[in-house]
């Protein structure tokens, strides 16, 4: 059974169809890139996969559960237990240190464990910056804290929205290397991007335009 199945999904805002009859399947451990220009429906897709929004039509089966039919409370639980979110704007809590930002995710999942949070920061190369506030970190470092926060509860899917959108090339490469490492460890990755270089390193890329899936590309030279 696939980890994620999207069947005939549409999202309609008044006269606008942000997603139009989209069908997509993501296998366990797969690295998928979703590409498309601004306004193509990428963020809407991410919100629906990330259980932060519901489709107007269609089914979204995540790990055997149709999230389109679940209540807000249940969606919060699914989000907490199965999904790790990475944002373009990082969205760190500005009055908490790097390690505390990671621990927040643990706190709402189970029990905060500072040692484990420090290990997560170590995995993204930031253990020595653990006690710094977000304002004392560079953009790349903030994004790595965001990745550590997404990883800490061992989610089934990492959902990244333009993860390199605010980073320079050096930091972009660091983030991509972390993704490669996660993929090798068997983590399912869905990366929304408009950057072809980021999409190229994924196993498969789907292209959205005007809310429709218009293309699907398998990366033949994908490095396992």
């Amino acid at each position: 059974m696939s980890l994620l199945e999207i069947k005939n999904v549409s999202k309609i805002y008044g006269p606008l169809k942000a997603l139009d009859n989209v069908n997509l399947t993501v296998e366990n451990g797969e690295w998928l890139a979703i590409m498309g220009p601004s306004g193509s429906g990428k963020s809407t897709m991410m919100n629906i996969i990330g259980c932060m929004d519901k489709p107007s039509l269609g089914e979204v089966i995540l790990d055997g559960v149709d999230i389109a039919k679940e209540s807000g409370k249940k969606l919060t639980e699914i989000r907490r237990d199965k999904i790790g979110l990475i944002f373009q704007q990082f969205h760190l809590v500005n009055y908490l240190t790097a390690v505390e930002n990671v621990m927040v995710s643990q706190y709402y999942h189970s029990m905060p464990d500072e040692k484990e949070a420090l290990e997560a920061l170590e995995r993204v190369g930031l253990k020595d910056r653990a006690k710094h506030l977000p304002s004392q970190l560079s953009g790349g470092e903030q994004q790595r804290v965001c990745i550590a926060r997404a990883l800490i509860n061992h989610p089934e899917i990492i959902l990244a929205d333009e993860p390199t959108g605010n980073l320079d090339e050096a930091n972009e490469n660091i983030v991509i290397d972390i993704f490669k490492q996660l993929h090798r460890q068997g983590t399912t990755l869905i990366v929304v991007t408009h950057d072809p270089e980021v999409a190229e390193v994924a196993q498969r890329t789907v292209v959205l335009e005007h809310g429709r899936l218009v293309n699907e590309i398998k990366n033949e030279g994908f490095e396992e």
Binding site: N47, M52, H91, Y95, Y107, Y108
Partner: protein
């Protein structure tokens, strides 16, 4: 983690939290000041009003009946009934004895001067030293009950000074002018029971009928009127509680009309009617009645002052609630990304509301404590400015202010919490 988040929010967003604390402190300070003044103002206003004289008169029962029948003023009646001088001190032994501020007996008689004119002479206490059976000692007399008397010439008669205790007198300014006498002069008076030469120690201006009278010690007047050990009436100044429906019912229909529970409440409250009732119980064959105008004025002034204080307190708390509401809503709006993120990573609404409310309650406690002490200062400033004395801080105000602050803070936070609950992570994190 919960406390780390609270600590982080409080210490790293100091300016916002200080603004909220200051708003709460202002509300708390006004509430503290007004509640303390409101609770203390009864005694303060009562004491101010005591400067305008006694509020209870005690006369013999027979005289009271005559007064009621013929609508006579208590001063005018000439019936031979008297109260006993020895019973005067019993006034201080009643249940509300501590509320009796001052009292003085009167003996009225008419004397004939050397020019054969008749003048009213009143014997009373000026600053009589009294040692009660209870062991309590006090000075009582008209010196404080007629505090508005302006002594134009000489001084107040001092009963405790040798020489003036017997034969000393104060003369009203109209009479003194007519007779051409001043302090230090002598005045010869006679009655059917005897004659005496009084030594004038002071000439006073009362602004009323008393300016045509002679005031002397009780013993002198008793000697001249042949009523040794007897008195005509007593004036009492008492701290009273404004009348309510219960007090009015007791006053009009009599205490017998009250149920046992109401009777107990009435008896144990310092209404002017219950104090009068207790004086009658203490002094045999007496009738104590309130000087209605004074009692009603006290009640009206007190009621209005307290209403004003309550309105100011309500307005100040309402203003605080609005201020808190604006500040907390602005704070939640500013933190919408953070709140959206917490929801996105799996925080339930009640846990986020818990964090925001805990931050506000801690801020409210800090603001409330600061406000209480500020209120203490405001109350003292108002007390000194208006009443020329300090305001006693009532311990019961602390829990009242605490409860009010919690209610105001929570009420002020409702719009922010509602906004927080409506926040959808997709909207704030991805702009949709």
């Amino acid at each position: 983690m919960f406390f780390r988040m609270i600590k982080g929010a409080l210490f790293r967003q100091k300016s916002k939290m200080i603004m909220i604390a200051v708003t709460i402190a202002l509300g708390a300070s006004l509430a503290t000041a007004m509640l303390n003044i409101m609770l203390d103002v009864g005694d303060k206003v009562n004491q101010e009003l005591k400067a305008y004289g006694a509020n209870i008169t005690v006369v013999p029962k027979e005289n009271s009946v005559l007064t009621d029948l013929y609508a006579l003023d208590g001063q005018e009646e000439t019936a031979a009934a008297h109260l006993k001088e020895d019973d005067i001190g019993k006034i201080k032994t009643i249940f509300w004895g501590f509320n009796i501020l001052d009292f003085t007996p009167f003996v009225n008689t008419t004397v004939v001067l050397d020019d054969e004119t008749e003048v009213k002479l009143t014997g009373t206490w000026f600053n009589h030293h009294l040692a009660l059976n209870t062991g309590e000692e006090l000075d009582a007399g008209i010196h404080s009950l007629r505090s508005w008397w302006d002594v134009k010439n000489g001084q107040w008669l001092d009963e405790q000074k040798e020489g003036t205790a017997n034969g000393g007198a104060m003369v009203g300014t109209v009479l003194a002018e007519r007779l051409g006498i001043s302090s230090g002069d002598s005045l010869h008076v006679k009655t059917s029971d005897g004659e005496k030469t009084l030594s004038v120690v002071g000439v006073f201006d009362s602004g009323g009928d008393e300016d045509e009278q002679i005031f002397t010690t009780l013993a002198t007047a008793q000697e001249l009127s042949g009523t040794k050990g007897l008195i005509d009436s007593i004036e009492v100044s008492a701290l009273t509680t404004p009348d309510n429906e219960l007090a009015k019912k007791a006053a009009t229909k009599g205490p017998g009309s009250l149920s046992p529970a109401d009777y107990e409440t009435w008896y144990c409250t310092a209404y002017v009617s219950s104090i009068c009732y207790q004086i009658q119980e203490a002094i045999p064959d007496s009738v104590a009645s309130p000087v209605r105008q004074v009692a009603e004025s006290e009640g009206n002034i007190l009621d209005k002052t307290q209403l004003l204080m309550i309105l100011i307190t309500i307005l100040s708390l309402f203003g605080s609630a609005l201020g808190i509401s604006n500040l907390v809503t602005a704070s939640v709006m500013e933190r919408s990304n953070e709140i959206g993120l917490l929801k996105a990573i799996g925080a339930r609404d009640y846990r986020i509301s818990g964090i925001v409310l805990t931050e506000i309650i801690i801020t409210a406690v800090v603001g409330g404590v600061a406000g209480y002490f500020m209120g203490y200062g405001f109350a003292q400033i108002i007390g000194q400015t208006v009443f020329n004395s300090s305001i006693e801080m009532k311990p019961m105000v602390i829990p009242i202010v605490a409860v009010l602050i919690v209610i105001v803070t929570l009420a002020g936070s409702i719009p922010a919490i509602r906004m927080l609950l409506r926040l959808r992570p997709a909207e704030v994190l991805h702009g949709r």
